[in-house]
Symmetry: D2
Subunit: 122 residues, 4 copies
């Protein structure tokens, strides 16, 4: 039986097939993939350039800009999957584990309503 | 019936619960979340600093550095989920749609074995 | 006679002497220098994390945070000098030339009071 | 008497005149300028995308790519000047001061030939 069509595993298989159909594995060393993820993150940031906080907040209400936002988020996720595959990282397990670490760094009673960095929490 | 424990939807629920337990929604405007995703991408990049391509390639073989890599990938994914939630973007659907767009920009017969940008493909 | 103590040429000589005293030229390939400049830019960005526009605007009024800002700006400039030296670029001449190009892309009569990207100016 | 035509002060005056002729000061809050500097740093990084270390090293030998490199370095410097002006930072003095701090963090006898981060130097 196949996993549900909306799972991350299905997407992962699709992006690997995309890469291999184009014979791009040869360019995908880990450093280049991490550089590329940073470039996609910057394209996401570019959607906010010269805009005040409130204008960025209103961005998803505009269908054209919302699609641009979705596209850039998508590119970040696709590179994340390629990096995880190369480094043999289980992305979902890593994120669950990191959330547990973050919870220890930011205990609810100390971090509640505060944006201090964990080293500055008291 | 619950979705499988390894699904992105479960992780999404967990990160939202983490945020709300700390009352952090108030700091999470879209611009700040996008800035934070960029900072996490930079932390991922920092793991490659001063290293040659081959050294980065060997990074996952070292358990300590591999965990650092997994942690930074995790942080990027967690912010991606927070951004998607705020902007009402279905991340998996967006990534599937983007892969279709990328396939049109990089047709297999032209892009095979080439790392040219799509505007330069001929 | 020495050039004036405040010139960019003096700073450039100082950063090269700093590098060579530590025998760091061997790690400074161009790709690594560009990655490092990006990491310093991210540290500058980190000073704005979780803050609203107005809070960032008020940042220089706080001496501690203003020094942090000055430090990160300094690191970006130091890497810029190292990159320029490696690539044999005259930084000041390059910036003067780029300002001329930017003036052509953004003619005063069209760009005045507008934050549209040059491709969208009409 | 004018400062020498190649000084940073001349460039600073030129970029402020450029900004003011277009009435762009209104968009230049500090957060936006820092975001923009990060975007220019990413454009510099993009020139290295999908290339191995040696290929990036050879980049300045190609006049077209070298000009692209010079242009992106220039844009980073121009934003640095705008940020410094807004935050009332003397860029050259800040960089001289940071070099002194870096020298204390990386003493020659410990840092010589090592690329360890200062917290890991022993």
């Amino acid at each position: 039986m196949l996993p549900p069509a909306d799972s991350l595993a299905v997407l992962r298989a699709a992006v690997l097939a995309f890469r291999d159909a184009r014979d791009w594995r040869q360019f995908h060393n880990l450093k280049n993939l991490i550089v590329s993820l940073n470039l996609e993150a910057a394209e996401l940031l570019e959607l906010t350039q010269w805009q005040r906080d409130e204008e960025v907040e209103a961005l998803p209400a505009d269908p054209v800009r919302r699609e641009a936002l979705a596209d850039e988020c998508a590119d970040v996720l696709l590179y994340l999957l390629l990096i995880a595959e190369q480094a043999k990282i289980d992305l979902l397990a890593a994120a669950q584990a990191k959330l547990v670490k973050n919870a220890a760094k930011y205990p609810v009673d100390k971090a509640r309503g505060s944006r201090a960095k964990y080293v500055d929490l008291s």
